[in-house]
C-alpha cells in the first residue's frame, strides 16, 4: 500500500479528516524551508504538498506567486527540491509527499528522468496544474507506470460529462477546487461546497480533499465536516512571506490542524 493510501486508510479508521498543507520548496531559502517541512508532521499535518517553483504560475494568486519568486531568487532548482524530499525522508518515512507545480520544469528535465528521481527521492504523488485529462499521455500515464499517484483537480466547472475523464487514471485522492479562481482567493462556504463533494464521492471511492481559499482554523473545521480532507496553502505561505520564524509558522499550522481535526 502506498503512503497516501495508508494514510487515508488510517485517518478513516480514526474517523478524522486529513489535514493537507502546501508550502513552496525553497521559500524563503533552502534551509528555512527544510526546517519548516520537517516540522509539519509534528504540527499535525497528515499530507504534505511541496510546490515546485515556476516563473509563471498561472493558477496561483499573489501569495504563492511571491513564494515561488522568493524561492527562485534564493536559488531553488528542481534538483534542490528533490534533495529536500530526500532529506525529509531521512527522518519521516510515513507522511505522504506530493510534488505540485507546472509542467515546464518537469518537461525541461525530461519526463522519465524526473519520474525516476522523484520516486527515488521518496515522493508519492504529483499534482500538475496545467495537465488536464486531455494531456494524460504526457505525464499522468508514465507517472502511474512509475508507481506515483497522479492527483487530479476537479473544479466547479467539471460537469457530470467530464467527471469520469477527470477521475480516470487518478489515484490517491481527488483535490476539489472549491471555487472558480486562483489559489488564495475568497473561500467558498462549506454549505456551498458540500453538494459538489457529494457529487464527486458518488462517482469514486477515492477520498475527496477540498482546497483554495481556506485560511483559518474555523474554515478548516467547517470544510473538514463535509470532506475527507482540507488543504491549506496560501495562508501558511503568507506567514513565511512576512518573515515569521519556522517556530511561528509551525505554531500557525498547528492551530489550523486543530481546526481540521476538531470535527
Amino acid at each position: 500500500m502506498s503512503r497516501i493510501d495508508a494514510r487515508f486508510a488510517s485517518l478513516k479508521a480514526d474517523g478524522r479528516a486529513a489535514f493537507v498543507t502546501f508550502v513552496t520548496a525553497g521559500d524563503p531559502d533552502y534551509d528555512t524551508s527544510l526546517e519548516i517541512l520537517r516540522g509539519l508532521p509534528g504540527a499535525g499535518v497528515d499530507v504534505i504538498e511541496i510546490g515546485m517553483p515556476f516563473t509563471d504560475p498561472m493558477a496561483d494568486g499573489p501569495s504563492i506567486q511571491l513564494a515561488g519568486q522568493r524561492a527562485l531568487a534564493a536559488g531553488q532548482t528542481m534538483e534542490k527540491t528533490l534533495a529536500m524530499v530526500r532529506a525529509f525522508r531521512q527522518s519521516d518515512d510515513e507522511t505522504p509527499i506530493i510534488l505540485m507545480g507546472y509542467y515546464n520544469p518537469i518537461y525541461s528535465m525530461g519526463v522519465h528522468p524526473f519520474l525516476a528521481a522523484t520516486k527515488e527521492a521518496g515522493a508519492d504523488g504529483l499534482i500538475v496544474v496545467d495537465l488536464p485529462p486531455e494531456e494524460d499521455d504526457e505525464l499522468c500515464i508514465p507517472a502511474n507506470a512509475a508507481g506515483l499517484h497522479f492527483i487530479r483537480l476537479a473544479t466547479p466547472t467539471t460537469d457530470e460529462k467530464r467527471l469520469p475523464a477527470v477521475l480516470a487514471n487518478t489515484s490517491g485522492f481527488v483535490y476539489y477546487v472549491s471555487i472558480t479562481g486562483i489559489t488564495g482567493a475568497a473561500a467558498a462556504h462549506a454549505d456551498a461546497v458540500a453538494p459538489d463533494v457529494a457529487r464527486i464521492k458518488a462517482a469514486t471511492d477515492l477520498p475527496v480533499c477540498v482546497g483554495f481559499g481556506i485560511k483559518t482554523p474555523e474554515n478548516a473545521a467547517a470544510i473538514a465536516g463535509i470532506a475527507d480532507g482540507v488543504v491549506v496553502g496560501s495562508a501558511i505561505v503568507d506567514r513565511i512571506g512576512r518573515g515569521d520564524s519556522p517556530t511561528e509558522v509551525l505554531g500557525f499550522v498547528k492551530s489550523l490542524a486543530q481546526g481540521a481535526h476538531s470535527v
Binding site: 516563473t55 520544469p105 473544479t155
Partner: protein, 410 residues
C-alpha cells in the same frame, strides 16, 4: 544521402492542427481543469462558426466597412530602387482601423463571443495594439472590456493606454512577475479562471491553448488570401518570397498560411534579435535562441533556462517582446517549410529610417524587423523576383521609443 525534403513526406502543410490541437508535437491544451470545459465549448462554437455563412458574411461586412479591407498591396518603388534587387511589395495592413493587423482577429473573436453570449471580454497586451483593437471592437458592440498590461509597458506605451481608456476599456496594470507581456497573459488567464462563466478571453496572437492558434490564424489569413489575389492581378503570378516579423507570430501566420502549399514560394519569418542572439539571452528569438517547452497552454519553442524557468525576452519592439512563439511556427520551423532568421534592435532602427525616407511610411518597430531582413535579402535577388513584406503596423505608437533610441529631442 540528402535528408528528404518536406514535400516528399507531406501532402499539405495546411491541414493542422489535429483533433488534439497539435501541429506535430507542438500546440495542445495545457490548461487547468477549470478552463478545460470552456476551451472545449469554444472549440465547438468555432467549428460551427467556421462553416456558417452568416458568420463570415458579418466578418466580410465589418472587414470592408469598419476595418477598411482589403488593405492595398503596394509596390514600394523607391525602396526597390534604393536596394537594387528584388521587386518589393508591402502588404499595407498598417492602414487598417486601429493601425495594425490585430483587428482582423479581434473582430472574429468578438463575433464568436457574442454568439456564445459572453458579455465581458478580457485581453492581454504588450505594446497596446491588441488592447486598442479589442477595446475598439468592444466599444462597437457594447461589451465590457478589461485589458491586462504589464506595468512596465503601461509606463512606456502611455498613448495606447489613454486610447484604450477613451474607448471605455479598463486597463489593469500587472505588477506580478516582471510586469511585461508574459505576465499580462498570466494575469488574464487568472482572471479567466476566476470569471470563466461570463468572460471571453480574446487572445492577440497565434498562441495559447487549442483552438486559439488555429482560430487566430484563420482570422488573420485574410492577409495572405488578399495578397494572393492582389499579386495575381498586379503581376499575373504568385510572389517568389514572403517576409514577415514574428513575436507570437499572428501577422506572419496570416500572410504565410495561404501559401504554405505553394512550394515554390520562399517563406521567411523574422524574429526579434534584440541585442543579438547569444548566451546573454537579451533577445526575443524563441526559434533561433530557445528550445521546446510548455507555457500559456501550448507546447512551443520558449526562451528558458536550464531548469525550465521562463526567461524575459528583450526587444526594442514591445510587440515582439515575448519569450514564446505560436506552436504552428515551431512546427513549420522543424519541418523546414519556413525559414526563421533574426535581426537586431539596431538593424530594425535603421530599417525604420529607410522606410520613412524612401516610402514616406512611418512603420511600427515590429515590421521594421521584417524590413531589415528585406534590406539584406533584396540586393541579392534578381529584378524579376517578387517579394512581399507584411507592413503589419504603423509607427505612431513608437515615435517616443525611436526618439529615445536616436537620442533625439521630441
Amino acid at each position: 544521402m540528402e535528408r528528404p525534403m518536406p514535400e516528399d513526406t507531406l501532402n499539405t502543410f495546411r491541414a493542422g492542427p489535429d483533433e488534439r490541437g497539435r501541429f506535430g508535437d507542438f500546440g495542445g491544451r495545457f490548461v487547468s481543469e477549470t478552463l478545460m470545459p470552456l476551451i472545449l465549448e469554444l472549440e465547438g462554437e468555432y467549428e460551427k462558426a467556421k462553416t456558417d455563412t452568416d458568420f463570415w458574411a458579418e466578418m466580410e461586412h465589418m472587414w470592408k466597412h469598419y476595418v477598411g479591407r482589403p488593405s492595398p498591396l503596394y509596390f514600394a518603388e523607391r525602396l526597390t530602387d534604393e536596394l537594387g534587387g528584388a521587386k518589393i511589395y508591402f502588404k499595407r495592413d498598417e492602414l487598417n482601423h486601429t493601425g495594425a493587423h490585430k483587428i482582423n482577429n479581434v473582430l472574429g473573436q468578438i463575433l464568436l463571443a457574442r454568439r456564445m453570449g459572453k458579455k465581458r471580454i478580457i485581453a492581454e497586451t504588450g505594446a497596446g495594439q491588441h488592447g486598442v483593437a479589442t477595446a475598439t471592437v468592444c466599444a462597437r458592440y457594447g461589451l465590457d472590456c478589461v485589458v491586462f498590461m504589464g506595468e512596465t509597458d503601461v509606463e512606456r506605451q502611455k498613448p495606447n493606454v489613454f486610447r484604450m481608456k477613451l474607448l471605455g476599456a479598463q486597463v489593469v496594470p500587472v505588477t506580478s512577475g516582471r510586469a511585461t507581456l508574459k505576465d499580462a497573459m498570466n494575469e488574464a488567464l487568472r482572471d479567466w479562471v476566476t470569471n470563466v462563466r461570463d468572460t471571453f478571453y480574446c487572445i492577440g496572437t497565434v498562441a495559447g491553448p487549442h483552438p486559439y492558434p488555429a482560430m487566430v490564424r484563420d482570422f488573420q489569413s485574410i492577409i495572405g488570401r488578399e495578397t494572393r489575389a492582389q499579386m495575381m492581378e498586379a503581376e499575373g503570378r504568385l510572389p517568389d518570397s514572403l517576409v514577415a516579423c514574428i513575436g507570437g507570430g499572428s501577422n506572419a501566420m496570416g500572410l504565410f498560411h495561404p501559401f504554405l502549399d505553394d512550394r515554390e514560394v520562399r517563406i521567411i519569418g523574422v524574429e526579434a534579435g534584440g541585442h543579438g542572439v547569444d548566451e546573454r539571452m537579451e533577445h526575443a528569438a524563441s526559434l533561433t535562441g530557445g528550445r521546446p517547452g510548455v507555457l500559456h497552454g501550448n507546447r512551443t519553442y520558449l526562451l528558458q533556462d536550464d531548469d525550465g524557468q521562463i526567461l524575459e525576452g528583450h526587444s526594442i519592439s514591445a510587440g515582439l517582446d515575448y519569450p514564446g512563439i505560436g506552436p504552428e511556427h515551431s512546427w513549420l520551423h522543424e519541418m523546414g517549410r519556413v525559414e526563421y532568421v533574426s535581426v537586431t534592435d539596431k538593424e530594425a532602427l535603421e530599417a525604420f529610417g529607410l522606410s520613412c525616407r524612401t516610402e514616406g511610411i512611418i512603420p511600427a518597430l515590429e515590421p521594421c524587423h521584417a524590413l531589415a531582413h528585406v534590406a539584406k535579402l533584396a540586393p541579392t535577388l534578381p529584378a524579376d523576383h517578387l517579394l512581399v513584406m507584411n507592413m503589419c503596423g504603423r509607427g505612431d505608437k513608437d515615435i517616443f521609443t525611436v526618439a529615445e533610441a536616436l537620442g533625439a529631442e521630441m
